[in-house]
């Protein structure tokens, strides 16, 4: 068969399987009026997709294609994933990635790693080897066992590839690709089932609980043990759930999950968009930008996971990981020739606490200057969970030109706030950001701006202080800071947004977080083992 025709036929087959899969889901969902009903769908983020593939097929499998952009909502990509869809062009990319992955998995070089048995081409629709492969990887990809229809449709793909002249491995390859391009893989689909103890009520299925838990703590697909626990129904039992949560929290993979949480919270996905004036900030190479993010994530992991320290103390922490690239940003010596060393800033230093790290200072600044306003906005939104309204539509940007004659940001912003239309919001942001003005647009230390000494006095919700350390101290003692983390982690985890559940649950979690001494591990455990975290409110609109 000519190659072009062969490819067209196979593509058609894949589309048929997609449609069949959707149809099959519909059939299942119709039954689910009484049994399983879909209540939520979260499109996998790029990180989740990559980590899922790595977990299922190993790190050696490469992903070729362009991801649909992740969508941020309420300051989190995790929240946005519930609102994200797949565009036609996006599906083409996912389909391309699916074929690429399947080609690697079932190509001659690696096939033996994944397919331990010899498939029988003569009985493709019934061969146990093929069935075992597709059912096994199908469960990992869909995070639940395949339905009979779902498995049969993939076996049909294998059979039809054979009929049009392909070999059996190509057939399995295209069947695997169709699993990878399925909505059941691309979306984390949550479903409910009847609650046996309370007739008329529903609960998340065990597999949905497993996925919610796994993506929350590890940011990846559930592992074999978690799926097995779901199959046995253990996740509906508080003790069984506690066992799994304990296991996930003890795993080194927790770090992967928490890195994703904080990268999302700190908006590190926007780092590639950071553009700085190369002449003004020659130190900011792409390697250094990468190291800045790594430094912050390492700081968080060391403080919150390794040391299990008080979250609030992050804002006053004196030590941070340092490598030689970053040593040039911080102007500090780094003795370790390779990798990371710990550097402690002493009392006399102007630097200290998370907010004085170059990643955050660079990310929330302009291309050619610092930005007290952006930094203040970031602090309000990210660490205090407060909303600052966007600039009014009729804002007069020509005012900026008049302010530019002032030597320092403080002077420029003071004039800015003298405009009533600006003052309303800027007074919420600028007094915070001005305390970080001793750090330029990439976080390098300075004492002068345009030859003038920089004044780093500032204020946060009525508290006066000075400099980055003063801001760190103020934040560490601000009651909203730990509450904001609880709120952020809860929203990241995908907890119910229903006010009747969320309100009391957050109140409880806040109290427990305080009682634990503001330890992240305890917060994670409290959320993950809370019954309310897995509660759902089913609307007829959700059923498909």
């Amino acid at each position: 068969m000519p190659e072009a025709r062969y490819r067209r036929v196979v593509l058609l087959l894949c589309l048929v399987v997609w449609a069949a899969g959707a149809h099959a889901s519909g059939q299942v969902s119709q039954q689910a009026q009484e049994t399983d009903a879909v209540v939520a769908m979260y499109r996998l983020t790029q990180t989740q997709y990559r980590q899922s593939i790595a977990d299922i097929f190993g790190d050696g499998v490469r992903i070729y294609g362009r991801f649909e952009p992740d969508y941020r909502r309420d300051h989190l990509l995790a929240t946005g994933s519930a609102w994200a869809s797949v565009s036609p062009s996006g599906f083409e990319q996912y389909e391309r990635m699916a074929r690429g992955i399947a080609e690697q998995v079932l190509g001659a070089e690696q096939r033996a790693r994944f397919l331990a048995c010899e498939p029988d081409a003569a009985n493709a629709r019934t061969d146990t080897c093929i069935q075992g492969f597709l059912a096994g990887y199908g469960e990992k990809l869909f995070r639940r066992p395949l339905t009979a229809d779902e498995l049969a449709s993939r076996l049909e793909v294998v059979a039809q590839v054979l009929e049009i002249g392909g070999d059996v491995h190509e057939g399995i390859q295209y069947a695997l690709a169709s699993l990878l391009a399925s909505p059941e893989f691309l979306f984390r689909i949550e479903a409910v089932e009847p609650e046996p103890q309370r007739p008329g009520e529903t609960r998340l299925t065990g597999y949905s609980k497993a996925a919610r838990l796994s993506f929350f703590l590890w940011n990846t697909t559930p592992d074999t043990q978690l799926l097995a626990a779901a199959e046995r129904g253990e996740l509906h039992d508080p003790a069984g759930m506690r066992r799994q949560v304990k296991r996930l929290l003890a795993s080194p993979r927790l770090e992967t999950g928490m890195r994703s949480l904080f990268a999302d919270m700190l908006r590190f996905d926007t780092f590639p968009e950071v553009s700085k004036d190369a002449a003004l900030y020659p130190v900011l190479t792409s390697e250094v930008a990468q190291a800045m993010q790594e430094q912050t994530l390492q700081t968080l992991m060391q403080h919150l996971l390794v040391e299990n320290a008080d979250y609030r103390e992050l804002f006053t922490r004196e030590s941070m990981p340092m490598d030689r690239r970053l040593g040039m940003v911080y102007a500090v010596p780094v003795t370790a020739p390779e990798g990371w060393d710990s550097y402690r800033f002493n009392e006399a230093s102007a630097r200290g606490g998370l907010l004085s790290q170059a990643s955050l200072l660079s990310l929330h600044a302009h291309a050619g200057s610092s930005s007290p306003t952006l930094r203040g906005l970031f602090v309000r939104e990210t660490f205090l969970c407060q909303t600052v309204p966007p600039p009014p539509a009729d804002v007069d940007f020509t005012l900026e030109e008049g302010f530019a004659v002032e030597a320092t940001a403080r002077e420029r912003l003071t004039r800015h706030r003298s405009e009533p239309v600006c003052a309303g919001c800027h007074h919420l942001m600028d007094p915070i950001g001005l305390t970080l003005e001793q750090f330029d647009g990439v976080g390098m230390y300075r004492t002068r701006e345009n030859g003038h000494l920089i004044d780093v006095s500032g204020e946060l919700d009525g508290r006066q202080f000075s400099g980055a350390k003063g801001l760190g101290q103020a934040l560490s003692e601000h009651p909203r800071v730990p509450e904001c983390l609880v709120n952020t982690v809860y929203r990241y985890a995908g907890g119910p947004q229903d006010d009747t559940v969320q309100g009391p649950l957050l109140q409880t979690l806040n109290a427990q977080f305080a009682d634990s001494g503001y330890r992240l591990r305890d917060l994670l455990r409290q959320i993950a083992t809370s019954d309310d975290f897995y509660s759902v409110s089913v609307s007829d609109d959700w059923a498909i």
Binding site: A278, V332, V334, M444, R446
Partner: protein
């Protein structure tokens, strides 16, 4: 000393509790407010970002017979115009005609063994020149002076401290096309630093126990390449280890006055590498003068000294690589001179360290311009 420096020095001594041990390498940076005050107890230093031979450019009367000619030019000049044309059109033909550039037998290579070939003569600048020289008191002068002469061994030994260090090497290279303002040497200036072949560190500080407040000034080679920023220049505040080889640890007695650092005489040996070159720069009775800019933290100035002729021949005539092959011939041709011509010229104009037996000078004065940015010098030997 500027007031800011005095204040910082005092603070360092008192707060650090290490009386007698001061590090002024990062003083300018601290004064400029570009280094966090909390870091003052860390040892400081400098990374040399520019290290260039001072080549003022030949004036209209400096080379009355024109510039020297390299091997290619001499070859072409010897041909009738009609035969010359194909070589001028196709550089590959010219290279083939002049082959081999690299000789299996060094004895056949005029650059590997320049002394084995007769002196073809090299045009040098013989007239009095007004150019920068290093004076005995550490200042710079620009008086018009005739070529420096090779003194007697006795005179050199007794007067070396009172001697102005000239730049006779410029007289040797002044009539070379590649050493003019827009020549090849200028276009390759600092390329060895930027490509990581040559890293030079400075560390200013050490024992301040001497009554006159003298401090130690160390100059090292490092095997660690510099890190270049997005502006194409070496970045400041790099952490760079000194070479483990003690021959590249050079120390001088220094003085810091009014933001200007000068050293007494010292012998300097640093790695000199570039492209295929793998050599050393050996300057005898060298002196350093750097102005420390309190605004930018940058140190800039000059290094003067007497370039040992053997070291010069290895690094700047034979241009030997690690395999022992000489890259001298292509280099000489690219700049526009011949190796034997240069070899005899540097000996003729040599003005330092006369041999007690022959009376011939064994070194030639040379001047480098230097610029350095703050850096952290690691693994340095303990201050004496």
């Amino acid at each position: 000393m500027r007031r800011g420096h005095c204040e910082v020095l005092s603070r360092l001594c008192l707060r650090g509790g290490i009386a007698g041990l001061v590090f002024v390498g990062s003083l300018a940076a601290q004064a400029a407010g570009i280094v966090d005050a909390g870091l003052a107890s860390e040892p400081g230093g400098y990374l040399v970002t520019e290290f260039r031979l001072v080549t003022p450019g030949a004036g209209p009367e400096d080379c009355p017979d024109g510039f020297n000619e390299g091997y290619s030019q001499q070859f072409l000049a010897g041909l009738p115009p009609a035969e010359r044309e194909p070589y001028e059109k196709d550089p590959r033909l010219l290279q083939q005609a002049l082959a081999p550039w690299y000789y299996d037998d060094p004895a056949e290579d005029p650059c590997a063994s320049p002394a084995a070939f007769p002196d073809p003569g090299m045009r040098t600048i013989e007239r009095p020149l007004t150019m920068t020289r290093f004076e005995p008191d550490g200042s710079l002068s620009t008086r018009e002076l005739p070529p420096s002469q090779c003194p007697t061994p006795e005179a050199f030994a007794t007067q070396v401290e009172q001697r102005t260090i000239d730049n006779q090497y410029w007289r040797v290279m002044g009539c070379v096309r590649g050493y003019q303002a827009n020549g090849l040497a200028a276009s390759f200036a600092d390329s060895a630093i930027l490509d990581g072949s040559m890293t030079i560190l400075l560390s200013v500080g050490g024992a301040a126990s001497a009554d006159d407040g003298a401090i130690d000034v160390w100059m090292y080679s490092s095997h660690q390449p510099v890190t270049v920023g997005t502006d194409g220049k070496p970045l400041p505040f790099a952490s760079l280890p000194v070479s483990a080889e003690s021959r590249y640890h050079n120390v001088a007695r220094g003085h810091l006055r009014d933001g200007v650092l000068t050293t007494d005489r010292f012998n300097l040996r640093i790695i000199q590498a570039a492209q295929r070159l793998d050599s050393e720069l050996y300057l005898r009775d060298a002196r350093l003068r750097l102005e420390l800019d309190s605004e930018t933290g940058v140190a800039s100035g000059f290094l003067a000294g007497y370039w040992d002729l053997d070291s010069l021949a290895h690094a700047a005539i034979r241009i030997q690589d690690r395999t022992g092959l000489s890259s001298g011939k292509p280099a000489a041709d690219a700049h526009g001179y011949t190796c034997p011509g240069k070899y005899y010229a540097v000996h003729r104009l040599a003005d330092g360290h006369p041999d007690p037996e022959s009376g011939h000078c064994s070194s030639i004065s040379v001047l480098y311009s230097v610029r350095a940015v703050p850096a952290f010098v690691l693994d340095a030997p303990k201050p004496m």
